[in-house]
Symmetry: D3
């Protein structure tokens, strides 16, 4: 029924490769099927001006797609001179989600910047970014402990994200591009490995959705996210 032959609740093969590039304090290549994102975590001393003097740290994120990560080439944002609304929305989501995973008061006045660069896109780039970024973040925190920048682990819980949706009347999990572009509803769920919610963003692309469909999508997300937490943990061991 699904173009890929997957069942409604089946997610794509997911792989997480650590130390993908050599300079970043945390560097992950995350793949959800054909969607591939490089997540680099950079640790820098200091915090943005509005945070100064509070003794707390900060986590921020930037997101970008290579111009030809998509079927047709899209204009490079650096050349156009500004980041589009979709980009800003996604990087705000990634940063907010990661901040919810960490006790910022235990970071010292340091900033962690997560760069999520999509090198190949096939749906679900923002949820893949969050899932991979959390692993890069863990590596960056280990680096900080090794360097003595922090003494204890400020991670409160792992986070991961998954897209779910309503496609041809059925709730399905982990939409690839061909499904996403025709879905009636698209919903991104960010969850902790303790089973609580960080973000839920559901959008009716075509027809409005019922409270019942909302419930079904949330159940699918909860189920798929448990698999993602297992994959993250395997990668970190």
């Amino acid at each position: 029924m699904r173009p890929s032959g997957r069942t409604a609740s089946q997610i794509r093969p997911v792989t997480i490769t650590r130390n993908f590039t050599c300079h970043a304090e945390g560097s992950v290549l995350v793949e959800f099927g054909n969607t591939k994102v490089i997540c680099n975590a950079t640790v820098e001393e200091g915090v943005p001006r509005f945070m100064k003097g509070q003794g707390k740290g900060w986590i921020t994120a930037e997101y970008s797609m290579l111009p030809r990560s998509t079927h047709t080439r899209s204009a490079r944002e650096a050349a156009r001179g500004k980041q589009g609304g979709r980009t800003l929305e996604i990087q705000r989501l990634i940063a907010r989600s990661l901040r919810a995973a960490v006790d910022l008061s235990m970071l010292g006045e340091n900033t962690i910047t997560i760069d999520c660069d999509v090198i190949q896109a096939d749906g679900g780039t923002r949820t893949a970014s969050i899932t991979g970024a959390c692993v890069a973040l863990v590596d960056a925190l280990s680096h900080m402990r090794t360097k003595g920048l922090i003494k204890t682990n400020p991670l409160k819980h792992m986070i991961a994200a998954l897209s779910v949706g309503v496609y041809q009347g059925n709730a399905i999990s982990d939409l690839e591009y061909i499904e996403d572009s025709e879905a009636e509803t698209d919903m991104n769920v960010v969850m902790t490995d303790t089973g609580k919610l960080i973000e839920v963003q559901g959008t009716a692309e075509g027809e409005p959705f019922t409270f019942e469909e909302m419930h079904e999508m949330l159940e699918l997300a909860k189920h798929g996210l448990r698999e993602l937490f297992d994959i993250q943990k395997a990668a970190l061991n």
Copy 2:
């Protein structure tokens, strides 16, 4: 318990003033307590380039806050030279929601632009904007019928929006600024008057929220939105 003395499910006094300014095809001043937004709907012939030749119409939106609509002055985006991420995110939400209310194929190749300008802010500006904008949209559609631009009413259903959240451990409805700034979770719900969902955006500002809290917030939203639909209808009669 709530700073305003309201009960958990009680929304603020809401007023909708039509024909607020004289030039726009639809012009509404919407007030949710101290939050005040001017929603102007403009009808223009033609559609953006990517829509041309399909015989369909388009609805878009822009959102802005007057610099001193807030407690302290915030920089004017026109002077800074770009719209911030929050602004872009909100105006994308407003436009998407309004497009879900209308059958674009019945609009002809015309564009309706909704300008939501916040003149005073006290929490919930994006949900007030959507609620007021839908009334301005109805007036603009009437204008189009009067002018012969469309023959039948392309409105599929009314939409309205409400913010709900978790504040001091309890789910509450229609947060004002003082509550919003301390809420653990903030959720915006856009619904149709037929009881279906257009958008659900829930964010853990502090602690993650449970699936149960998510359910409670949705129930509060459903309840409050029914009141908003009554107020919209009263304003339109």
Copy 3:
């Protein structure tokens, strides 16, 4: 003879509403007929870099029109990414005029920013802005004295502004849009309530004007401005 039936020297009904919004230190809605402008004055500690260490204060201004304050919608400057020449010219004029009303050396190192946002336009928006802004400024200065930021009143005199012009060969006062768009000459005059000039900007839109017409326009302005000073004073009592 005039579209509105007004006599050559007759200004439109002018109303000044103080405390129009609730956050600004001075907040005025000024109306010259159908022209309506919100003038908010914000007091902030500190001065721009080029003023630092001189013990003096600063007054600046920003001006904007809501996109649909006009007959047809004009593009939002924040979305276009820059303020146009007309906007910059007008806000420079407003700021310069207000600075001429105040002894900056008595302000301390504080800045007052005046935001003039036109919500409905029908000619004369810049002169209405100055006239309303002066009242908002007075309220902001009172606020500063109440807060102990200043000890004495640094206001040197009230200022107000009026547009005059040559229309169908006759000098007229307070042009509305329909007159302004066809006037041969348009002149904006900023005056003190002591009868001296702050700014005179006369422009031949069509035909050059004679020194005699210049003289007539100045006389009309002087006359109309006296009325405006009375209206300002009534509003302040």
Copy 4:
């Protein structure tokens, strides 16, 4: 009394050099004492979009100062990424003034762009620009007649511009920088050689000015402008 020893009504030595650069259709170096401006007029086929199909021409202008045309270096606007308010204000004034000199309906659908680039500044750059630009415009119009782009001369009258002001209590003519920076009032006057006014822009830099001072400045301007028209005519013969 004046730093230069000039009398109140005495203007600086003015020279106008035609054909200053070799590519432009009209190219003038204008000097008012130490103020030196290159005025290049470019003729191009076509008009801006908002003028198309009306059979009329258009005249526009751009103004810039070389970074080190002034006592201390000012930042290059191209490097800063935008033109400042003063620049936009001046180039709007130059363009408006020149359009008032020409019957645009006789230009055909052609555009004349006047570039005024200040290579050395000592006060009065905008008035020198207008005075020189009018001569460059005349040469560009001759070029158009030679090329057959127009058949008759669309020039309605020559225009020239002069700054006057109140300095140490006295009205004076053609202020150089040292006077301008300390003047109480600064006024720019654009006039036709038929003795009518195109623009009057008077600004109280320090103290407000009286209607009487306004009158004196206008008389000084009228007198000095007659000399400028003689110099323009000599240059054109």
Copy 5:
């Protein structure tokens, strides 16, 4: 003597991986030691405006570094709102070089855009980009022939690029970052596989270089480039 133990003329291990991403018409990952660049070639119908109607094609390029491709994080150009001078200079070089490899008159009115995105940097990113981009270009041209967009192969010759320099008084080949940052002279050479020069850009970073050193560097480049052409050819077979 060299930090890596390489001889003066020894280049780093170079690998070229074709079909690195799945959407682009040509997609190459090129590695010069630790320098890694993704080169994607996109074929689009149409040419830029200045080329229209000539029946010829166009080749352009864009270059970017991931923020954390370097030792310390550099700001994302899309976030800063403009591409820096170094970026523009490099992408102009890449595009110019590739255009020299192709007979544009045989391309039809099509455009090939080469995106060079550096995912890890260790010196020589611009020369690696050109070397990899030429292979991606060959794949894109094959794609065009398969699709029937062109009938014959418009490639005139392969091109490749190499950096050479003077380091501690000796001419060396293929500088890595640690050498590049201390080199007295840095020179980039773009050559055809027929042994002719496309670009030579030599810069004295510290001390000026002699005509003799220039000659030695050119010889080293010629030698190393022959190896690169062999590697390109192996990759294409």
Copy 6:
């Protein structure tokens, strides 16, 4: 054979006028035939942030062409809101070349900014800029010694620049526009008066060039540059 009748090695008449404008610490008008560039050197205390605290000075440059310095008018970069790639490339070249002429450690924490503004262009504007800028730099250094900002002369050697190329199969020197626009190869050479190289930038505009042609162009450059050093020295005496 050459359009101007010059021999292959013959450069155009070159004149260098010092003290061309009155405010800059060094001000030169340099003319290579019809190419005319104003080179102004400005001395300012302080250095850019990345240089602070090292006790060294800095030299930077900016380059611009007046819109009508060329045959047809090109858009003003300040109006377009950004400097193009060609401009950035040229000003980086000028600055790099001049820094190679000076021992920055002897400048103190001062910055010299060289503004090269082309008022008339006929090929070779970047090489004329460098040649003239070096003379302006010498005057600025003299000024610094007079003012006591430096004690000894930090100039290591004079520099000058010349364009050479291959035109109709022959190497020629100092290309004017008509030659430049049709040349097969264009090469810019920056040299010291001690006969060493600072920059060599050769580009195949049409056909690739041989190593032999490269050699011939370098010889022509060396010869022409000796003449330029004589002209610089004559101007400085």
